[in-house]
């Protein structure tokens, strides 16, 4: 059994639902790597902050339901898988987007707290359904 507190597995989701960039960024290690689908890899807190700031210009997370969750703690690291049903709300135009996503997150016990060192996600939905948030963003841009 780990001597550390439990991995705060919902921290990223709570931060993204609240649109709280500082909370989100504080969840990551200084050298974190974040790999969102259909986008470039982000290295470090500043790039991650810029990505979330841009994301929240266009979208907010309406709600999420955790459908599967598994965490394996190995000393100073924890490996977490999560499956989620999520609703994303475009801020300027367009219908709600429903998506089924999975996350694979590596946590590191850093300075007395669990922080995210690696974070990746993708959708289980076919191309053109849940992932239409990218097309939606293009549409929103056209209409501004």
């Amino acid at each position: 059994m780990s001597q550390h507190p439990e991995v705060p597995h919902l921290a990223l989701l709570e931060g993204s639902k609240a649109g709280d960039i500082d909370l989100l960024v504080s969840t990551f290690t200084d050298d974190a790597v974040m790999m969102p689908p259909n986008d470039t890899t982000l290295y470090g807190k500043e790039e991650i902050r810029a990505w979330w700031a841009e994301y929240f210009q266009w979208f907010q997370v309406g709600s999420y339901v955790e459908t599967d969750h598994d965490v394996t703690v190995a000393g100073e690291q924890a490996f977490q898988r999560m499956s989620l049903s999520i609703i994303i709300v475009p801020k300027r135009r367009g219908a709600r987007i429903r998506d089924e996503i999975r996350t694979l997150t590596v946590w590191r016990f850093d300075d007395g707290a669990w922080k995210v060192s690696h974070h990746m996600w993708n959708s289980t939905n076919p191309v053109g359904s849940g992932t239409t948030r990218y097309l939606n963003k293009i549409q929103q841009r056209k209409n501004t």
Binding site: N38, T40, R102, V106, N122, V127, G128
Partner: protein, 158 residues
Amino acid sequence: MSIEAARQNDPVFINRQRFIDSLKAGDVEAVVSLTTPDVVIMSPNDSTLYGQDEFREWLGEYFLSFRFAAFTEPERNIVLNGDFGTETTTYMIAITPVGSRSRIRDDGRFLTIWKRQPDGEWKIWQMMWNSSKPIGIGTNRYMWRVMQKKPRAQRSSK
């Protein structure tokens, strides 16, 4: 760096190379042999695969439709922690749909968690990947497969 030096400093390196070579060869059993019995595979736009049998079936179905014409990983990083290795790689691939001369090119990333087995061998325990390209470019292999599954008459009527 020579392969022998890489093996000493990075015990996962050789199996990563075997993984890529096996995918390029379309060798299902060789790929599956590099995974743990409880492997979890999370490929984009597809359901999660639990265990070697589900992964074997998925690979078998995949290779019915596609072959890798090229597969390179220009960037790779690994963090070792006891019996676990956290590996990030970037990939550049060219996929040839079976029966077609066209090629689908994609760039993306793998996040792979390796786990050292009791016999000392490092195997893939959890793996996810996604494309770094915009939707409709690299990821159109899924659309290609959907079209292949539709009856020919239905396709030609579009």
